[in-house]
Symmetry: C2
Subunit: 352 residues, 2 copies
DNA sequence: GGCGTGTGATAACACGTGTTAGTAAAACGA
DNA sequence: TCGTTTTACTAACACGTGTTATCACACGCC
């Protein structure tokens, strides 16, 4: 079976030239003077022999692996991360492949453990790194910083000093709440996606405040509840809000998953969405359109996140282009039925 | 910044031995006679210098990359594949990392295009391959077969001659239908997940027939409808069944996604699940538990699929152990409310 | 004829490691 | 004391490629 591999030496012999010439031709080396005749002979020989350069030999001498790492940190909202992994990965891959890079994926369950992923760098397996869900207790990031290794964060980590790509959470939350205000609501609650120490959570809360302030609606501490990634937390938080003397007429839930619990809590009280309470979520998880009623939400551009991070990394590696410290991607409001902007009607199946 | 990398030569010099000795010590070469004293000196020097062997140099000489490829073929049911990607990937990674392998992920949008992914093999970037969602029009599989390259299929491709790991679709469907029968149903419809040429679809249909046959229930052609991956197809198919003179009292839908369309169709007719019609799905997609009513379904062991495929591949690569031609993983019936086995009750949020 | 000058190609080194064959010294047996 | 074996280690090659410095040669010019 596995017959010996064809090397550039074989190509050289078949074409009747030296190995150097083969290398020059196949790599299109700029300064090299090669006659058209020789070039053709080399290309023909390479094609006929089915020559493919050995990646290991190549990276050994060039000191470049043409591979990047995608490290997935296990954060408390792992479900959320997992939901977007395929899209993010596709976005990264769609940029990396044309640029000639491969993607090594490394899920890391515990960043505090020694050698969680840094061996990829130290063994020189990768040229750059995209780190999804960075954590402040990551022991290896400082070391990478010191080495000057190219790292892009997917998500934010204040003070880490690495270029970040993230969603514009403030703006996303703002347009969601603006929408509720435009529908006539003035008493609007918020249930966050996570405890306030998470930057994403803090930013979405800030967007909420901005929208209220822009319309002169006073901020009411009582209308703020904190979720913690799960539907259960949404269920509980919504019950709190419903227990108020003067409950809100609309709720902005900063996470679709949490919003599912919210919907359940409202239903269990015998109330109807959006007739009694309007709900807007955040993320546009796939199932958002299948719950009852279909959830109005803010789309998180997962594919674009991957794409952008990859593009920035490629520019960094290939052109030495300094990456921007922070890139925020725009969101988009997806209006369905839970906000009350659309009259209830028949279910329209997605065709195809 | 990026200071020169520490090589094994540096370690040798610091420890006052030859490079060969360093290699022997760090790799624990069996036959090598090294004194305890020397071994300690080498290990100390390596530690102090922060030595990590260069992966490229290592694979160049050893002809092994200690990397495997995970190729994701774009099949028509891409959404389905994407839904399970995180779990499959974790399963693979959890086996591969302890075994000392990395995972290179390559999404392929078009397997018929030349060099869709075979360059990974030809450039000798990987030692083995896990191919998810294999397709019969894949032009590169035969070439890999001929080369004797280690490939594991995730899913089945009859006649491909590669070892496969898949779910036991026949058995999964059988227990689902058995369950409906045990609840007293005798007029049970089926809506497949895909057209019959897909092996998964054919197998699930076969499990349906087996269950009926085991209980002497005649097979009725009219109760069979074919879905094609989407909710829309489920919506349409269910309407067909509901339009029958004598409609079924229960439906086995061989895909959760399709089942969501089925639930909608039933609801739009003003009927109730499970009171009027019982529904059982297949896959146990994450959102199955959030629809109304929560969907009884057959769990597809995604994590275990990845784990098993990875384990078989590792055994193949490391121990030369011949992989089994076909490994079928057991499924499990997850009973929720859509089948009617559980009395309707309050929503119980998942805590945590 | 000697001398730059550009053209087309190559010899030789470097990359960092695993491994085979071999060696020097020590230990051992008679 | 002199082979013989064992111990502890190393010189040298191989892996397959990119790249620098060099070379042979033809050509035109004074």
């Amino acid at each position: 079976m596995a017959r010996r591999k064809v090397t550039s030496y074989d190509v050289a012999r078949k074409a009747g030239v030296s190995r150097t010439t083969v290398s020059f031709v196949l790599n299109n080396v700029p300064g090299a003077r090669i006659s058209e005749e020789t070039r053709r002979r080399v290309l023909k020989a390479a094609r006929e022999l089915g020559y493919f350069p050995n990646a290991a030999a190549r990276s050994l001498v060039s000191q470049k692996t043409r591979t990047i790492g995608l490290v997935l940190c296990q954060t408390p909202d792992q479900v959320f991360h997992d939901a977007f992994l395929p899209e993010v990965l596709h976005g990264i891959s769609d940029v990396m492949r044309p640029a000639g890079y491969r993607v090594l994926v490394e899920p890391v369950e515990d960043v505090t453990r020694p050698n969680a992923y840094i061996d990829l760098v130290l063994e020189q397996r990768i040229d750059g790194l995209i780190l999804s869900g960075p954590r402040s207790d990551d022991a290896e990031l400082p070391q990478l910083k010191e080495e000057g290794f190219p790292v892009i964060l997917l998500g934010q980590l204040p003070g880490a000093g690495f270029p970040s790509v993230d969603v514009d959470n403030v703006e996303g939350a703002r347009i969601a709440v603006e929408h509720l205000i435009s529908l006539g609501h003035t008493r609007i609650g918020i249930i966050t996606n996570a405890p306030p120490q998470y930057t994403g959570s803090a930013h979405r809360l800030e967007g909420y405040r901005l929208a209220l302030a822009a319309h002169g609606i006073p901020f009411d501490e009582n209308l703020v509840c904190y979720g913690n990634f799960t539907e259960g937390s949404g269920y509980r938080a919504m019950n709190e809000l419903l227990g108020l003397a003067n409950p809100p007429t609309a709720v902005f839930v900063a996470s679709d998953l949490v919003a599912f619990g919210v919907l359940a809590a409202i239903r269990d009280r015998g109330l109807l969405v959006p007739r009694d309470i309007a709900v807007v979520g955040f993320d546009d998880v796939r199932m958002a359109r299948y719950v009852t009623p279909p959830l109005t939400t803010v789309r998180l551009p997962a594919y674009e996140l991957g794409q952008t991070a990859a593009q920035i990394l490629v520019n960094w590696l290939e052109k030495g282009k300094e990456p921007p410290k922070l890139t925020l991607l725009p969101t988009e409001l997806v209006i369905r039925k839970s906000c009350g902007a659309i009259r209830p009607q028949e279910f329209l199946p997605i065709s195809g």
